[in-house]
Amino acid sequence: MSMFPETLIGGLLAGTMYSLVAIGFVLIYKASGVFNYAQGSILLFAALTFVSLTDQGVPALVAIAITIALLVLMAIAIEKLLLRPLTNRSPMTLFMATLGLSYLVEAVAQGIMGSQVRALDLGIDDLPVFVGDIMISQFDLIAAGVALALGIGLSLLFNRTRIGIQLRGVADDTRAALSLGIDINRIWQIVWAVAGIVGLVAGLLWGARQGVQFSLSLVVLKALPVLIIGGFTSIAGAIVGGLIVGAGESLAETYLGPFLGGGITPWFAYALALVFLFVRPAGLFGERQIERV
Amino acid sequence: MTTPTPPALEVKNVSLSFKGVKAIADLSFQVEAREICALIGPNGAGKSSLLNILNGVYVPDSGEIIFEGEHFRRMEPLEAARRGIGRGFQNNALFSGMSVVDNVITGLSRHSRLTLVEEMFRLPRARHEERRFRERAHEVLHLFGLDRHAATIVGTLPYGVQKKVELARAIVAEPRMVLLDEPLAGMNAAEKQEIAAVIARLNRELHLTIVLIEHDIGIVLELAHHVVVLDYGRKLADGPPETIRDNPDVIAAYLGTERAEIAA
């Protein structure tokens, strides 16, 4: 039986689901230096908005358009009311602010749209696909495709569009960007909006798999080790980190779990990340800061 | 200042680069014991990076450091402090949330012999050490005329005063050598004279070896026994101040080529 390759491939594919969440983090961290804990709540908000709309009979495309519009508004509000007043504050303060934000977003999402678990059918039947005797999940395959497409799409956005180039400039050197007339506040709004849209995509995929419900916001906990392995600032890192965490978790639960009584996934990813950090303190794709004194 | 003793410090063929850009290229020079050695040169010449190597903050790509006869491929920050190398920083690296006296006492850290339990319960030894440290810190503060600022949180003080606190912190542990990165920057002329006088006294009375970076060449020429000129990561000149003042390369580096022609 081809247990090992199947476990590995299954894990890799599942890992791309983590990457999807991590990418949203990376965008925001890179451009605005905020470690955005609220990414999970935004993901919940996006998926819940979409499903609430389609449940009301709104066509899917219109629902997506409305959801994106709301995410853009949210991004603008966050930038104006939270980021701007908190400019130059310590990263820890910003992090705590996003924790507060996550409370607010969750409350708004559940308060307005209710807390019932909703089904989300993307029309993907999750039936097994066999390659030889290796079983692969069709859904995971599609999710991996989406993650890849998103990665490519975002890199095109960053490398080919005017906004993208300016955005990378801001990420590299805020002060220089300011001196060249780049409107940093607008860039932040755009980045948060794009991260919201990435959250929507991730929310839809995760929602299709487990129903649209509160626990969607908990997927951030899966994204953290991914980020740490890949580095906070690299989209490629987020994807590779996701693959490593997915494969590592899957292999560990299968081969290590039985010796430890199972259920080791919640901490294993963190232990793995810790090992990676010892080798590379700024993640696989992160850059080491030179200390100037 | 010629002594038969071996040099206090020898920098030997040291090179350093950041992300492929050379900051220091094959640099060698010596600092005699008990001398004031000034490093001068334009911004970006690699002076601060050199001090950081001597303190162990940066690891050189190649070369070695010989301090009091011992050879180091790299220095560890704590090791440097233990061996008596003190340090003042360019952009005030004070502990901004702490009071002046606490900043200075922190400089005595490596002399502390207390255990956590002694500190928690303020056992006699802890009280004794605390009193000793505090007295020592106040002595040094007094030296710099900082007595009245002792309890002030350092972040709220004017820049010039902060520079003095930094100097006090660098010497409180009675190092054998101090590395000072622009100790006079941002001060007015009177303050500069005052600090320069303190530095000279430290050297004369405490027999401190001092390596300092300074842009005010007037003061450097007055204060230093020995000047090393860096430019673009290389050594441009090395010698007593009188010879440096008239060195055409130095004038060129400082005033630009044309000025050199004008001056010549």
């Binding site: 999750d126 039936l127 999940s137 487990q210 199972g262 080791i264 | -």
Partner: protein, 442 residues
């Protein structure tokens, strides 16, 4: 602004305790720790709707219980045991002149956390189909009531149902039954019972844990595929149930060979799983649906009059709504028993214990109160705080739960020694002398 904030803070904390007592009122105080916020709100919302609708029905249509009105009040806990403990502390002295007759914990972890406090305070903890299994033994745990369906009974009923599907207990021999469980105290609570059952019937017992929250279960179900069990007993909770059902489908394990436990058998566990859940069955001490008499009464008196707590009336009759109804009914019937004995006035904790220990709801009574088929006949005694131990089996057809069986009873003869043993060990450890109930039934 700051001053206002401080004022609010102060006022809030002072007034929340300094409630004025009005002696004239004789309503029975019933605090409800609830979770309308957070990860478990989807089931919570419906529970409270069921409980509140029933209490309101009793108050407004039946004029209270034996004339005593019920004064219920909610406290948000987000299903956190600590916050439930805090609520308990806040309410244990009662309110508006009414003592506390019992305390609904609304969650197994909270029951565990309060077990000893409540015993010391002499306040019955009510946790139907949950709680600590050993507390079925009322001689050691006079103030804990895991009513209706303990975790051991759940395991036993599940196995009994599988036996009926495979054609008898003797056919269990050699079968493989895997339990996929939420890796928590709740998830493991059935393990001792399953061990005993496996020994008795000779099936192979495979235990597969799923770590919280359980939103990725490929390794677990790959293991299921490897081991090829004949049946899976699913003891998950919250999102892990949905993911389990979907992942089972992906790994080719048929849904109609999965038996879900009580807390893996509501609409929110199957609807998000879509087609994958068709054919999935679950133990139902609280069957879903609106085909019960009580629903007709509530519809007429509460829902149609716009008095329901249910936000979305489509969910009327959902499993979790019915959980609320049944729990409320148990409380009401226990109070009724107490009022008949002590007189129609608010009961205190000791009286509440007496009331619950003498609660009997037979078929005739079930018919009267409109719970026939929704609630099993129940008889609590001082030695048996469970009092029922049966469930029906319901199966999901893609739209609704369909009841497949009548009440299937757990194998109490087999389980009781296990419970006694556990209770005795607890008694010894805590220096409790089990009471002899016969002498104190007054």
């Amino acid at each position: 602004m700051k001053r206002l904030l401080l004022a609010v803070l102060l006022a809030g904390t002072v007034f929340s305790t300094a409630t004025v007592t009005r002696a004239a009122d004789v309503s029975q105080y019933i605090p409800l720790p609830t979770y309308r916020v957070g990860a478990y709100a989807s089931s919570g919302e419906l529970w409270w709707a069921g409980e509140r609708d029933y209490f309101r029905y009793i108050n407004e249509v039946e004029g209270g219980v034996e004339g005593v009105k019920l004064n219920y009040e909610e406290f948000e806990t987000e299903w956190s045991p600590d916050r439930t403990v805090e609520v308990y502390e806040r309410v244990k002295a009662g309110k508006d002149g009414s003592p506390l007759a019992f305390f609904f914990t609304h969650g197994t972890p909270a029951t565990y956390a309060l077990l000893e406090k409540a015993a010391a305070d002499k306040i019955p903890l009510i946790d139907p189909a949950g709680g600590k299994t050993e507390t079925v033994d009322g001689t050691v745990f006079p103030y804990a009531f895991p009513l209706l369906f303990s975790y051991y009974s759940q395991a036993s009923t599940g196995i009994n149902y599988i036996a009926s599907k495979v054609g008898g207990f003797e056919k269990l021999k050699g079968l493989k039954i895997a339990t996929v469980y939420h890796d928590s105290a709740y998830g493991r609570a059935s393990q001792p019972a399953i061990d005993v059952l496996a020994k008795k019937y000779g099936f192979e017992n495979i235990q597969i844990p799923v770590a919280d929250p359980g939103n990725e279960q490929s390794p677990q179900w790959r293991q299921v595929r490897e081991q090829k069990p004949d049946w899976v007993f699913l003891r998950t909770w919250g999102v892990s149930t949905v993911v389990a059902i979907k992942t089972a489908q992906r790994f080719g394990f048929p849904a109609d060979h999965i038996i879900g436990d009580v807390w893996a058998g509501s609409e929110s566990d199957v609807i998000p799983a879509g087609k994958a859940a068709i054919g999935y069955s679950a133990l139902a001490p609280y069957p879903g649906g609106t085909d019960f008499d009580i629903h007709k009464r509530l519809k007429a008196e509460i829902l149609d009059k716009g008095k329901s707590d249910l936000r979305d009336q489509k969910l009327f009759g959902a499993v979790n709504y019915n959980v609320g109804l049944v729990n409320a009914a148990l409380a009401v019937e226990a109070l009724r028993t107490g009022y008949k004995h002590f007189g129609a006035r608010p009961l205190n904790g000791e009286e509440g214990r007496w009331a619950f220990e003498h609660l009997t709801i037979d078929d005739a009574r079930l018919k009267q109160i409109g719970f026939e088929g929704l609630l099993q006949p129940i008889k609590i005694t001082p030695t048996d705080h469970e009092g029922g131990g049966a469930a029906r089996i319901q199966s999901w057809d893609g739209e609704k739960w369909v009841l497949k069986t009548d009440w299937i009873k757990a194998d109490h003869d087999l389980l009781n020694p296990l419970i006694k043993e556990g209770a005795a060990a607890y008694a010894k450890e805590h220096g409790i002398t089990p009471r002899t109930p016969d002498t104190e039934t007054n």
